[in-house]
Symmetry: C7
Subunit: 278 residues, 7 copies
C-alpha cells in the first residue's frame, strides 16, 4: 500500500541514506545456490552446490579459473558472474603479458570492486547481481576475498554465500581457528562438510557439488567428479548426513525467513527453479 | 490493483533480488512453438514444430545453419532469433577466415550469452525474447547448448523449449540415458517422438515439423520434407498418435496453466495466432 | 480503470512475454487500405486499393518499384512505408553497382526485417507502422514476402493485408492451389477479384485500385489505369459486384470487430478518413 | 477523468494502431489561417488569408518562394513553416549549383516528407505543426502538393488547408474539373473566390490575403497588394460577398465543431488570437 | 483537480494542436516590465520601463546595442534576453568582418527566430522566456520587428510588449498613422507618451525609463538620463500624468486579469518583485 | 494536497510564465548566512557572517579573491560558490595572460551570468544555488555586482544577501547616499554596522565575520581577524549591540516568515545547522 | 501519505531551496562506523572503529594512505570512499611526478570537493555517500579537513563523523584547546579516548579500531594492532570503560533518534549489519 519512492533507481538515496537498489542486488546473491571458500596459509579451497535444471542438463558452471594463481566461485546471477570472471581472466593475461609476472590478487580484487561501484552510480545501469569468492595465491600468501554487488570487498579466512549459507557459516565459524595451519586435505574436508550444511537433508554426492583447490606449488584446478566422490567417501561425509539434517531441522525455517526484506508483489517465483540462476 | 513497481524496467531490481523484465522475456520463449534437441556422442539432432499463418504461406524458418559444424533451433520472438543466428553465422565466418579452423562451439555459445547479458543491463534496451538450442560438433565432440534471454547458457544431453515443451521433456527424460550411444537413426526417431508429444493430438506430418542433423562426417543439414515424411512413416510415429493423444489428455490443462506467472491486463491475445511468432 | 503498465514502451515486456507496442504497431497495418499479392512460378502480381482524400487529389502511392526485379505494396502508415521503400531502392542500386548483378530478393527482405527489428529494441524509437508485400524475381524464381512491423517476414504464395483483407484472404485460400501454374492473365484476374472482395459493395473501377506485375522477361511495372480498366472489363469483374456485395453483407460487421484488441480512450477516429494513411 | 496514456509521446502506439501525437500535430494545421492552391496544366496559384495581430503590424508572411520554379504556402505553426521553407530554399540552391538544372518538384516534396517522418519516430523530438502547399513547375508540368505533419504528401488539382478551409474545399470541388485547362486569369479568380469562402462574412480585400502565381514562362512571384486589389475589383468578388456570407451562415457552426477531436483541459485559447500563428 | 497532461513538455502536442509550454513561455514576456518601439521612415525609437530592485541598485539593462544600425529592447526573462542580444552582437560582428557591410536587419531577425524555434522542438531544452523588439536601419529603410518565444517574428510600425502594455498599444494604435512621416522629435515624444500609459498613475521621470534612438545618419544610441528628462520636461508629459492616471483607473483591473490563462498552483509570487525579471 | 506539476523540472514553464526551479534555487541564497557589499568611488568593501559547525572547525570560507582587482562574497550553497569563484580566478588569469591587462569587471560578471543561465535551460542540470556579490575595480571605477542563480546580474551601490539580510538592507538604504564619497574607513564602519544588523542580538566579534577591502592603490585583501577586531573596537560597534538587538526584536518574526514561499513536505531542517551551507 | 516530490532527483530544488538528495547522501555518512581525527601543530592522528561482518573476515579497510604526507579516514559507503581515496593517491603521484614536490594538502582537498560537487549537479549521477577526514602535513603545517558529500569541505582542529560520533565530538570539544600544542602521545591518547566514546559500552581493544599517525619527520602510517593495544593498555583506556558506558547510557537513545530525518518506508534495515558499510 505504501509505495517506497526511493527504491527503483540506483542513483536515488533514501532519506535514511541508503541505496535500496544496491541492497536488492545483494538479495540476488542470497538467492543463488551456495558457494563457500576457506584458506590455510598455503592453500585455498572453493566449493559450490550445483543445481541442475533437469536430468537432461549438466549443471551451470559456477567456479572459474582466472589464472594459474587465481580462481573464483560465484553465487547469484550466473550471467553477471560469467561476464565478471571473464574480465578477471583478461586482466590476468594482460598483466602477465605486460609485466611478465602474475597479477597480485589484491589488485585484481580492487579492480573488480571498482567495476561494480561504477554500476551503482549511473542511472542507466544496474548493480551486478552476483557475489564472487576470489581465491588467490601470490607473494603475500594465500587469499580469500568476497566481492559484493555494492562495490565493497572483504578478506576472509573462510566464508559462505548464497542460499542457506548461514548453516555453512556457522560451521566455518566453529572451525576457522584451525584453518590457518590446516593441511590441504583438511581444508578439502572442511569445505565438503560446510557444503553439506547447506543441503537441508539432501545427500552429498560429487554430482551436486564442485570443488576447486589452489596452493603453493599447485595451480588452481577444479577437481574432477571422481576425486570429489573419493573425498566424500574417505571422509565419510555423506554417511553422517541424515542425523545432521535432523540437527539442522530448524534451519529451514530460518532460511525461509532469509529470502529478503520484503516480499515482491510480482508474480510468485516458481518453487523448483530460481529464475535466472541454477 | 497492486501495481508492481519493479517490473517495467530491465535495470530495476525487486526487493527480493529478481529482475522481472528478464523473467518476462523468458516467458516469450515459452510462448513460441516448440523446439527440441538431443545428441549422441557423434550426432546432434534439432527439430521444431512449424506453425503457418495460413495455407497461403510457408512457415517461418526456425532452424538455421551457422556453419558446417554449428546449427541452431529457436523458440520465441522469431525476429530476435534471426538477428542472433545471423550474428552466429558472421562470427563463424570471421573466425575461420582469421584462424583457418572452425570456431569452437562453446566459445560461440559464450559470445552469444554475453550479447544477451548486455541487454539485461542497459536501461534503453530490452532482453532478447528468444531461446536458442545450439547444436555443434568440434574436437571435443558433439554438443547441445541452450542459450536463454537471461544471458545464461546450459549444456544438455537433450532439451525441449517453447509451447507445450513439458511433454517432450518428460519423453526425453525417460529415454535420455540411451542417447549417448544412440545411432543417428535412433536420435532422429526420438526427436520425432518428442516433437509429437508437443502436438496435443494433432497428427505428426512432415509439413508441421522441421528436422536437422549434424554429425561426424556430416555437415549440419536441414532435412528435406520428403526425408522427414519417410522417417515418420518408417517409424510408424504418426500412427501411434491418436492413443498417445488420449494419454496426454490431461496435459493441455497443465499446458494452459503454463503460459505465465500472471495474466496481462492488456488486450487478449488472439487465440489462433501468436502475435510475433508463428 | 485498469491501466496496463506494460504497453507504452517498446522495450518493456509484459508478464506473459509480449511486447504490446509491437502488437499495436501491427494494428496500424490493419487500419491501412488493403493490399494483396500473389505469384505463379514466373510472375508476381501486387494490387492495392486507393483511397483518395477528396476528388481534388490523386491517391497516395502505395506500390513502389525498388528495382527492375523487385517491387513492394504497403498497408499502414504511408510515410513509414515510403521511407522503407526508398531504403529498398537504395540497397538495390548499391548492390548492383558493387556486384554488377541484381540483389537477391530474400537478402533484401532480411535486411528490411532487421531494420524493423532494431526499432523494437530501442527505447527512443518506435516500431514501423507499416506492412510490406515484397514481390521479387531472381535466379531462385518468383517470390512474394510479407514484412511485418515486428521484424518478422514470411514467404507467401498469396497474401492480403490491411483493412477488410480477411475477405480477400478467404478468396485467395480458395484458389491458391492453382496459382503456382497460373498464367500472367489469370494472376491479374485473381488479383482483381481478390481486391474486389475488400470493397464492401463498392464498384471496382480502375480509379480505386493500383495493379503491378513482375515476371520472367518483364520488369516490375505499375499498370496504367487504362490497362487496369481494360482488365476489369474483360474479366467482367465489376459486373459481378452487386451480388457479391450482398453475399459479403455480414462482412462489414466482422470488419467492424476487427479494428483492434482494445478501443482507444483517445479522441474518436473520424469515420471518413484514416488519420495518417489514405 | 479517463486519462489517455497513449497520447503524450510521439513514439507510443495506441492499442488501435494510432500515433495520437502525430494526429494532434495535424490539428495545429487546422488552427492556422487558411491557405489554398490550385493548378492548370501551365500555372499554379497559391493564396492565403492574412491575419494581423493588430493594426500596428504587417501580417505574418505565409507564402514563400523556394526557387523560380517552386513556392509554398503554409498553415499552422508559422515558425515551423519558416524553418521548413528555408530548408526548401537551400535544397534548391544546392541542387542547381551541383547539377546546373532546377530541382524536380516531386523530389523536393519527398525530401520534405522524409524530414517530417523522422520527427514522428524519435522520442526527443515532436512532429512539425505545419501543413505545406507546394507549388512547382518542372519538365513534367505544373504541380501542387500537400505535405502533412505525418510525413505523408499528396498531389492535388486544388486543395485548401487551415481554419474554415472546408468551405473553400467545397467551392474547389464544385469547380475543379475546369481547372486543368483554365487560363492564368481564371485560376486567380477561382483562388480569390475560394479564399473568400473561408472568411465567414468578412469583406475580401487585398490587405487580408496574399496571392502568388507560377507558370510557364513566369517565375514564382507573390503579387503585390495593388495587383490583388485590381483582381478583386475586376472580378467583382468583394461585392458578392454579403449574400455569400449568408449562404455560408451554417458554416461557422460546422467550423466551431472542427477545432479538434477533444477539448484540451488546459487554459482556454484567447478568442482573438491564435497563440502561435496569425 | 483536473490535471493537464499536455502542458509540461515542450515536445508534447495537445489534442487541439497546441504547444502549451510555448504559450507559457509567452506569458513570461507579459510578466516583464514594458517595452515599446515605433518607427518613421527614417528613425526607430525604443523605450522601456526600468524597475529597480531597491534604491541601492541601478536598474537592469533592458535595451542593448547590437551594432551601429541595430538595437533591441527586451521584456521577460532578462537573462535569456541578454544571451540572445549577445548572440545578435556577435552575428553583426561576424557578418561585417566577412562581407565588409552591415548585416541586413531582416536576416538577423530570421536567425534569431530560428534559434528560438529550435528550443521549441527538443525535449531537453525550454523555449526562451523573452520577447525582443528589434530596431534596425538598412538599405531597405527603418525596421521594427517583434521576436516571440515561439520562434515567430512580426514587422511592426509600432508595438508594445510586457506588463500593462495594452494601454501603450491603445495609444500607439490611435496615433500610428502619423508615425511613418513623423520627425525624430515626434517619435521620441510618442514613445514617452506610450511609456507613460503603462505606468498606472506613477509619475514619468527619466529615472524609470530608458530611451534609445536610431536613424538615418545616426547610429543606435541609448539616450542619457539628462536628455530623456529634458524631453519629458519639454513635452510636458509628466504634468499630464495625474489625470491620465485617473482615466486609466480601470486599467489595473484589466491588468490584473492579464497575468495568465491559469493561476499557478505553486507558491504565490511576491507582490513587490517579479522573480526573475526587474 | 494540490501538487504543483510545474515545479520539479528546470525546463518546465508554469502557466503564468514562471520557472519555479529557478525561483527555488534563489531560495537557497536566502538560506545562506548573510553577505553584504558597499562601495564608494574608490573602494569596495565586502563582509560576511561566519558560522562554524562547531568549536572544532574553522568557518567555511565565503569571501574569495579572484584577482588583485576582483573579489567575491557568496551566500547559499558553498560548494557551488567555490566552483564559480574558481572559474572567476581562472578567467582572470587567462585574460591577463592573453591581453596583459586586467579583465574588466563587467565582462567577468556577464560571463558568470551566462554560465548560470545555461543551467536554467538544460533538463539534466540544475540552477546554481548561490548568490555572488562581486567587488571590482577597473578603469571605469569601483563596482559592486550581484549575480543571481537566474542568470541575472545587477549593479549596486550597496547590497545584502542571505539569511536576515533585510535588516542590513534597511540600514544600507538609510545611509547609501553618503557611500559614493565615503572614505575607506567609513565604508568599513558601515559594512560592520550592516553586518551587525543581521545578527539578531548576537554580539559582533571578529570571529564571526570576515571583511575584505579593495580600492585604488590597494589590491583585494581579506582583513585579518585582528584588524577586524580593532575596527569593531574603534567604532564601538559591539557595544551598541544589546539595545540594537532589542530594537530588532520583531525582526526574527519577519525573518521567520522569510525562508520560502512554501514549506517543504520533506524532513524538517535541523534547527542548528543549515544542511549544505554554514 | 504525503509524498515529497522534491527528494528523488539530485537536480531538483525544493521550494525552500534545499537539495534533499544531497542531504540524504549526508545521512549515509552518519550510518557508517565512526571515524575521528585530531591534530596538533606537528601531528595528525586518524582513528576509526572497525566492524567485522563476522569472525571469519578481517574488517573493511577504512583508513588509507594517499602519500607520505597525506592520509584519509572514511565513514559511509566504503566503495565510494575507496574510489575517492584512490583518486587522491593518483593525484599525489601525478603532482609529485610533474613538480617534484608533494601536492599541497589544501589543493587536494579542493579537487576532492569539486569532484563531489559535480555529482550534485548531473541528473544521471548520485552524490557520493561518504565523508572523508583528510589528514595532511605540508609547508603550512599539519591539517585536518572534512570533505562532505555536498561538495563542501571544512578545516578542523578535531572532528568525528559516522555512527554515534556525537559522543566523540563532545569529548573532543571538551579537550580541543590543548590539542594544538599536544605531544604525539597525547594526541594518540585522546584519539583512543574519543573512539571509545562511540562504542556504547563495548570494550575498546586493538581489534576493533584502526589508528594512523602523520607528523613532522614521520610519514603517514597505520599503526599495527600490537602498537595500538600497547597504547590502550598504557593509557588504561579499556579499564575505564564499564563506568563510562554507564555514564553514556542515555546516549543510545539519542543515537537512535539520530539515524535520519525520516524513516524510510522501505524494508527495515537489518539491525546487526549496515547494508553497504561495515
Amino acid at each position: 500500500m505504501f509505495r517506497n519512492q526511493y527504491d527503483t533507481d540506483v542513483t536515488t538515496w533514501s532519506p535514511a541514506g541508503r541505496l535500496f537498489q544496491v541492497e536488492y542486488a545483494m538479495e540476488a546473491v542470497k538467492q543463488g545456490s551456495a558457494a563457500i571458500g576457506l584458506r590455510s596459509k598455503t592453500h585455498v579451497v572453493l566449493a559450490c552446490v550445483n543445481k541442475s535444471n533437469s536430468e537432461l542438463s549438466s549443471h551451470q558452471k559456477k567456479i572459474f579459473k582466472a589464472d594459474d594463481h587465481i580462481g573464483v566461485a560465484i553465487a547469484g546471477l550466473t550471467a553477471d558472474g560469467r561476464v565478471l570472471s571473464r574480465y578477471m581472466r583478461s586482466e590476468c593475461i594482460n598483466y602477465s603479458y605486460s609485466y611478465e609476472s602474475p597479477l597480485p590478487v589484491g589488485r585484481l580484487v580492487v579492480q573488480l570492486a571498482d567495476k561494480a561501484q561504477v554500476c551503482t552510480q549511473r542511472s542507466w545501469k544496474r548493480p551486478y547481481g552476483v557475489g564472487l569468492l576470489v581465491a588467490g595465491l601470490d607473494e603475500s600468501g594465500a587469499h580469500l576475498y568476497y566481492n559484493c554487488p555494492s562495490g565493497n570487498y572483504f578478506e576472509y579466512q573462510a566464508f559462505a554465500i548464497g542460499s542457506r549459507s548461514q548453516a555453512a557459516k556457522t560451521y566455518l565459524e566453529r572451525k576457522f581457528e584451525s584453518f590457518s595451519s590446516s593441511s590441504r586435505e583438511n581444508l578439502l574436508k572442511d569445505a565438503l562438510f560446510a557444503i553439506r550444511e547447506t543441503l537441508q537433508g539432501e545427500r552429498l554426492t560429487s554430482s551436486i557439488c564442485t570443488v576447486a583447490v589452489l596452493g603453493v606449488g599447485e595451480a588452481f584446478q577444479i577437481l574432477d567428479q571422481k576425486t570429489v566422490q573419493a573425498l566424500i567417501d574417505a571422509f565419510e561425509i555423506a554417511g553422517e548426513e541424515a542425523p545432521a539434517a535432523e540437527g539442522d531441522a530448524p534451519a529451514p525455517d530460518l532460511g525461509a525467513a532469509e529470502p529478503g526484506p520484503a516480499a515482491d508483489q510480482g508474480p510468485p517465483a516458481q518453487p523448483d527453479i530460481a529464475p535466472m540462476d541454477i
